[in-house]
Point group: C4
Chain length 159, copies 4
């Protein structure tokens, strides 16, 4: 997989800040370490075979919502149809919130256990930290993140 | 009418994503389908003879307000004068909210029945989905949408 | 004075949309009318001899605040020092709110009566409509408007 | 130190608006005075030996929070790790709020007394005025300000 190098400012990324790593999270560039959260990316790639791209976003809305409770329920939004396999607004999608953990291997294990039981099909939040979401292509992953962030912004302003 | 093709990301539209359709919603381009919501556009063009352009917008403010109740009353705003036939701030304009429906023909029928009775003269909201508004020209439709969205933003922040 | 022509969209102004008018509000361009609110500009130019530029802004914050009460008190902000003659944050500046009125001559009279009594030294709000503020130069008027709008945004988010 | 000249609009700075001053706050340019708040910069440079750059920001969020109480506690945010010496989200960082004071020497003394006792390690707020934060380089100072402002925005929207 391609992944950002560790310690890069996300607003200043250049092409050289993207490196390759294997699915155990080992950088294939001997001189650089990959992102501190590489194992969270590995977990999704291994658990979701069709996954081709993962986005991790820090927004005000997703951060605020992740601190309010253990899940965010999104229901009745037309934009839910952007998510995989959803063809109507008339559903409830639950985005789980996991407690943040600096032990990324342990956090990846927690996420994986939840996903094995069917949770987090469309993405998940880490409390006080951000969103993980994905799709088969970069474009689809981005469209889903945009839809989720839009709905999070609506939820934040509705409470 | 000109209308966007189905399934296009609205932030990435190119000229080729605009196709022609008739007022029954049939694409005149044999290779592409028009927007999933084409029949809502047809309904307005048929019901409002002077309509020359229709805008459908997804904003945080219009989405949040559409989930609060069955209408949005706009009163006392100078910008109401941007709407058709309004010459004073000292009026109340009601923007109705219709329940979302994946059966677009049925939703268009609901909207049409309301408009026949004089509702939705200046536009309408679909719950959790967005705004429809229009005008005789692209520019006038855009100015009206801008005015409505500005007032929605004020209403959202006033509750 | 230079003033925008009537009926121009403020986001699309070009140089030709600025015309000259006298201080009674009569356009010096025989083919074009000046802004519907020209007499409000005349009132300030006549009442405030050092005034060299007037800005009228429609922001979400100033619109929301103008609908909450009959004045906005700004106190304790460092940015108050941007306003004329103010050298400390430790003051209260009152921005009065006047009811909107489509009879602009009458509204200008109301504003003038208040200003004769010392109100609105730093600007005023029209309810549901916007801010009027000014300064000896375009730059100073803009800096004051920026400071007022920043404080309005803070007030809106503090209530 | 390099510092902005007094009286410059911060949105219109040009290179000539940056001058040099000594750590007692005396401009080395005989024709120009340095910022009115120069002594606050001197205080940090003298108290924090590794400091290489100081940012002072006026944001809506930091202004609103600074008017709510005498400190802002930031806890549980992943972005706390951007701050110096912090390696986990699982801490509470306290950003103190000092009352604004037009006597900058006196305000610098108040800040210095608090810093001597270990407060304001990561920055401080002046009530109704803004944030001071710093770092060993311009880039690190900016990253810290960005992280603090992001968390302030979350706090403002959570109350």
């Amino acid at each position: 997989m391609a992944i950002t190098a560790s310690g890069c400012h996300k607003g200043e990324l250049v092409e050289a800040d993207i490196l390759r790593a294997d699915l155990e999270g080992r950088s294939l560039d001997p001189k650089r370490k990959s992102s501190y959260e590489t194992l969270l990316h590995c977990q999704v790639y291994k658990r979701v075979p069709e996954c081709g791209a993962i986005f991790h976003t820090h927004s005000v809305a997703n951060t605020v919502l992740s601190r309010r409770g253990d899940k965010v329920n999104l229901a009745g939004y037309e934009l839910l149809k952007v998510l995989e396999g959803i063809t109507t607004h008339d559903v409830t999608v639950t985005i789980p919130v996991f407690d943040n953990d600096q032990d990324i291997a342990r956090l990846a294990g927690t996420v994986d256990a939840a996903m094995r039981q069917g949770a987090a099909r469309h993405g998940y939040l880490i409390r006080g930290h951000g969103l993980y979401a994905w799709g088969p292509t970069l474009a689809s992953a981005r469209h889903r993140v945009e839809a989720l962030e839009f709905m999070f912004e609506c939820e934040m302003r509705s409470a």
